[in-house]
């Protein structure tokens, strides 16, 4: 029971907004020692954990080229491009991105899209550009919201698309675990089929929320605009 203290450290640490690296470091050391690992073993666990999880940081390899292109105006050009599609609002564009992301993941192309390679350089400037076309310069709070929703479209699309594909990690984990532990013969195809209903729900629910984002922006920005005019009027 006492090993659950580590979980408590994590929850309290994140809730009180301590630096996450320190929270995780302390929780790891505490859990390891309480769980009966020697200090040497705890250090080895940190070393092995770092070495074995380098794949999550591999996206850093795309940063130089993305940075180079941004220096030459990639984000500005993405804004120019979206400006030509008058009907593509922020919400519609992000719903389209969600759908493409989901279909891509469902056919096994999980790394074709991603936060570093497509969200930052392309999706965010397009989503912002669509809103700017309509409302002009966006206030900081709105910009944060549009960016957060862009990130969410990528995550939701990935999570609820990838399980429809047969050879993805989570499906193989399920068949691997159940077939060896309980001696069954589950096929990946059976599992992938059962991921489809939730995938449809995810597209409908998040797609609806993204479309709804348009109305939220309208309400926020038009009232902000009215407010600004009111201030100007008052100043007169």
């Amino acid at each position: 029971m006492i090993v659950l203290l580590g979980v408590l450290v994590v929850v309290i640490g994140f809730a009180t907004k301590r630096n996450p690296l320190l929270v995780v470091g302390v929780a790891g050391i505490a859990t390891g020692l309480l769980g009966g690992l020697s200090p040497g073993k705890v250090l080895a666990a940190f070393g092995n954990g770092f070495a074995g999880s380098r794949a999550v940081t591999i996206f850093a390899i795309t940063l130089p080229v993305i940075g180079l292109l941004e220096r030459y105006g990639l984000q500005e050009q993405a804004r120019n491009l979206i400006a030509r599609f008058g009907k593509l609002t922020t919400g519609r564009f992000l719903a389209l991105y969600l759908g493409l992301r989901q279909i891509g993941a469902a056919v096994g192309l999980t790394n074709v899209f991603g936060h570093a390679q497509t969200v930052r350089p392309l999706a965010v400037p397009m989503a912002e550009g669509a809103a700017e076309r309509k409302y002009g310069q966006l206030p900081h709070r709105t910009r944060e919201k549009v960016r957060s929703f862009s990130a969410s479209a990528d995550n939701v699309g990935l999570f609820f698309g990838e399980d429809v594909f047969l050879a993805v990690g989570s499906i193989l984990l399920i068949t691997g675990f159940v077939n060896t532990t309980y001696g069954t013969h589950l096929e990946p195809l059976q599992l992938a089929l059962w991921a489809i209903p939730t995938a449809v729900c995810a597209f409908v629910v998040h797609g609806w929320r993204l479309l709804h984002l348009d109305r939220q922006l309208e309400r926020e920005l038009l009232t902000a605009h009215v407010h600004d005019t009111a201030v100007v009027e008052a100043a007169k």
Partner: protein, 322 residues
């Protein structure tokens, strides 16, 4: 054969070069701490190659990892003034280059797709061109290298220091968030060997009433959701919750359809991934990458969707799996 390790070395090497640039950058008030942090990560990336093959001890790397956490955690890292172009210059450059700017950007996904679909099946001299099991990493790595070459040509940029400097200021802007996913993977492994999963499984079994199907479905789905939030990863939660509830109760006792129960249970866990800072690579790193003030911005955008989808999973499982 093209190996994933090559790209880890490339990442490690570029971190080391960028660390040297950081130390030399006098506009950064914390240039030594910043350089030390990224230098350690870069060296760690390369040293790790021998740790995974057990040819080098993992303990020194563990010490280095804790040192990295302290450097960033106690505020010894900072950022310099990026040497880059102004907004006006960018607008002018975009007007001049036009849609040609998209070619290198789209090279990454196109090459990644080509690797996933085509190159994966090629072999040369009896061995596959791409290391098996690492095709997605290789697709991204090869895509980035090809895109950089294409970009340098299209932009007529001859100085390799320009993309390296641009990448460096993005690293500085992201700071500690870059290391968090790997720290969390470590924490998950420590939780595993220390028996946190067994305890959670026991707790779940203890609170579970044995006679209600619907309550059992809710406990399995909500358990996957909550435990995934704690571990940051549905893969770690799945064996624990399935051994405690999913298999013995839902499939065994209530005679549920095993593929439906398990697939939907996993997806209930994914709803948890959407709302936890522990899944840093999906939720915290993008906040840093998109330069958000609120590091929980993506989680807040995902929270209502995750809640509704958890409900959907419970309903779908209750209706169709039994």
């Amino acid at each position: 054969m093209i190996k994933a390790e090559w790209f880890y070395w490339l990442v490690g090497l570029s971190f080391l070069v960028m660390a040297a640039q950081m130390v030399a950058d006098r506009s950064n008030p914390k240039r030594f701490g910043t350089g030390a942090f990224w230098g350690l990560i870069g060296a760690g990336f390369i040293y790790s190659s021998w740790v995974v093959t057990k040819q080098a001890p993992a303990e020194p790397l563990g010490v280095a990892v804790l040192l990295m956490a302290c450097l960033a955690g106690f505020g010894f890292t900072g950022r310099g003034t990026p040497r880059t172009t102004s907004t006006e210059q960018r607008v002018a450059s975009a007007a001049k280059l036009g849609n040609r700017l998209f070619i290198p950007a789209l090279t990454i996904p196109v090459v990644a797709m080509a690797c996933a679909i085509g190159v994966k099946h090629l072999s040369f001299g009896g061995e596959p061109v791409l290391e098996e099991g690492s095709e997605t990493i290789l697709g991204l790595g090869i895509g980035a290298v090809v895109a950089l070459a294409v970009g340098m040509i299209i932009l007529r940029e001859k100085r390799i220091s320009v993309p390296v400097q641009s990448g460096r200021s993005m690293l500085e802007a992201m700071g500690w968030a870059m290391l968090l996913p790997q720290m969390l993977a470590t924490l998950g492994a420590i939780f595993q060997v220390s028996g946190v999963g067994d305890q959670v499984g026991k707790l779940t079994t203890a609170v579970l009433p044995k006679d209600s199907l619907y309550i059992a479905v809710v406990v399995y789905c909500v358990g996957m959701f909550a435990f995934t939030m704690v571990m940051g990863n549905a893969f770690a939660a799945f064996p624990v919750m399935t051994a405690a509830v999913g298999w013995p109760v839902l499939v065994g006792h209530f005679d549920g359809n095993a593929p439906a129960v398990l697939a939907i249970g996993m997806l209930a866990g994914f709803c948890g991934t959407l709302v936890t800072p522990m899944a840093a690579n999906f939720n915290i790193v993008p906040a840093a990458l998109l330069e958000l003030k609120d590091q929980y911005g993506p989680i807040k955008a995902q929270l209502p969707t995750a809640g509704v989808l958890l409900g959907c999973n419970i309903v779908i499982m209750a209706l169709f799996a039994f």
